[in-house]
Amino acid sequence: MGRYLVNIWESVSTMLIGLGITGKHLLRAKNGNVTLQYPEEKWPRPERNIGFDHQDYNVIRSRLVVDINDCTGCKKCERACPVGCISVEALKVPKGTDLGVTSNDTIKRLLVTRHDIDMSECMYCNLCTFPCPEECIYMTGGPNSHKTPIDYEFSEYDRNNLIYKFAVATQEEIDSYTIPVPVTPAPEGAKA
């Protein structure tokens, strides 16, 4: 009998405590909510985050971008990628050809004819950005906001549109370098 009454008392009291807690949340719904109403409000929303500007983040894993003007075609990112979603092809150009310099003042020795990234396969592991000697492959937003602002809305209706082609070398450019190659000996010192 004692157990019976205790059961009733425990049920009623613990339930009232529970109702009290949910009631408290119900009343402070206006200020206590954590919803980000997506299309109207967009991340980053400073008052919801932990008081940080997203510029202060170490990195934000979002879309990959390549500053192709800085790319030397060293293929380090391609080798680092665990899923093989980066494909780089670079062309050896005859000695003495001026391809310009990167922003770190490295002389470019290879013409990047292809730098494709399949974002539909990317696993956002960020491993490709570390080996890059010119820091020309990076993820948008965060500390890179000054280069490319954050962009996480890049869904597409066709999967093939997610293959980003960064190379800007034109066909004439490529031809102008490829045609003389058989006649001249292969240039030295153009190792990746």
């Binding site: 494909s87 399949d118 293959i163």
Partner: protein
Amino acid sequence: MNVDVAKKLTEVFPGCLVEQDEFPETHIQLQPDQWSKIASYLKETEELSFDSCMCITGVDFGEEDDLESRYNLHSMKHNHKIEVRISANRKKPIIPTVSHVWQIANWFEREVFDMFGIKFKGHPDLRRMLLPEDWVGYPLRKDYVGPDSYHGIIIPKVKEVWE
């Protein structure tokens, strides 16, 4: 670990040892034929009491070598551990089961069977664990070649639109 497992085992089961480390040993290699009994002995002997089987790993070093099954045993009581290695012929891989000694070995052995095709003699329910029942071949073997299609679904080997 302050018990010489190899020495104790050779006393009780002569000829069971194939290979062993220096004294505080990390691993011992055993003959497969008495393994079931040795496992019970390892679990039930007071000084050893390997009451938990941490892991069973199937190993394949390449097409010339034998398959291997490695047991990482641990004793909650004495807090010591040991690795037992048992190899099996690649053509006819049979190792006695220890699923009656440690219950968890049941699932671990099924997984090894699934991936390497090592048959555990006496296992109560030796079915594939992670792969579908009708899968052909043992994927973690080094000589495994993946199928071209599965139930009519073509498995693409090259990416389209990617050249």
